[in-house]
Subunit: 110 residues, 2 copies
C-alpha cells in the first residue's frame, strides 16, 4: 500500500513567497488579530513570525497585513484585502495539490 | 511573477519508498551497472546508497535490483523488472506533478 506525499509552495524571484507555514501564520493573525499571539499559538518566536511577514510584504505589490491604530482595545493587526487574496489563492493551490496526490495515490499499484 | 514549486515522493507504512533522489540513484545503477559507481556519480557514500536501496527493497514485494554473478567482467548490479516498473511509475508521477505545477503557476495572478 503506497501513498503519494508532497509539499508545495509559491516562489518569487526573491525566494519563498508563501507555503503551508506562512499560510497558517496568516490564518492565525486573522484569528487573533495579533502577530505575537499568532506566533505564540505556533510556538514560534515573534522575531521569526515578523521576518516571515516582512518577507511576504516585500514580495507583494501591497502589504499583506496592516496595523490597526490603537483605540480602547490597544490596536492590533489584520490582513489587508491583498493578504486575504494571497491566502485564498494559496489554499486553492493546496487543495488542488491534495486532489492531485489523492488521485495519483489511487493509481499506484506496484 | 510567481511560480509554484514543490516536491513529491511515495511512502509506504514504513516511510519513504521512492522520491527524486532514490529515482536518480536507480537511473545511475542502470547506467553504470554498479552501486559504487552510481554512488560516486552522485557524490554519495556507498553506505548511503546501499541503505537507500535496502530500504526500497524491504518495502517492495520483490527486490528492485539484483547482483549479476561475476564472470569475465567481474559481475555487477542491474535493475529487476520490478525496479524498472517502480522507476517508470515514479517518473510518470513526477511528470504529472510538473504539469500540475506549470498549470498552477500559469493561474497565479496576485
Amino acid at each position: 500500500m503506497y501513498t503519494v506525499k508532497g509539499s508545495i509552495w509559491i516562489v518569487s524571484k526573491s525566494g519563498t513567497f508563501i507555503g503551508y507555514g506562512r499560510a497558517i501564520l496568516l490564518e492565525r493573525i486573522k484569528e487573533y488579530g495579533s502577530i505575537s499571539e499568532a506566533a505564540k499559538s505556533m510556538k514560534m518566536s515573534y522575531k521569526h513570525a515578523w521576518e516571515m511577514i516582512d518577507s511576504m510584504n516585500k514580495q507583494s505589490k501591497t502589504p499583506l497585513i496592516e496595523r490597526i491604530a490603537g483605540g480602547k482595545g490597544g490596536g492590533g493587526t489584520k490582513l489587508t484585502p491583498e493578504g486575504d487574496k494571497v491566502l485564498k489563492k494559496f489554499w486553492e493551490l493546496y487543495k488542488g495539490f491534495e486532489k492531485f496526490n489523492a488521485s495519483a495515490s489511487s493509481k499506484l499499484k506496484f
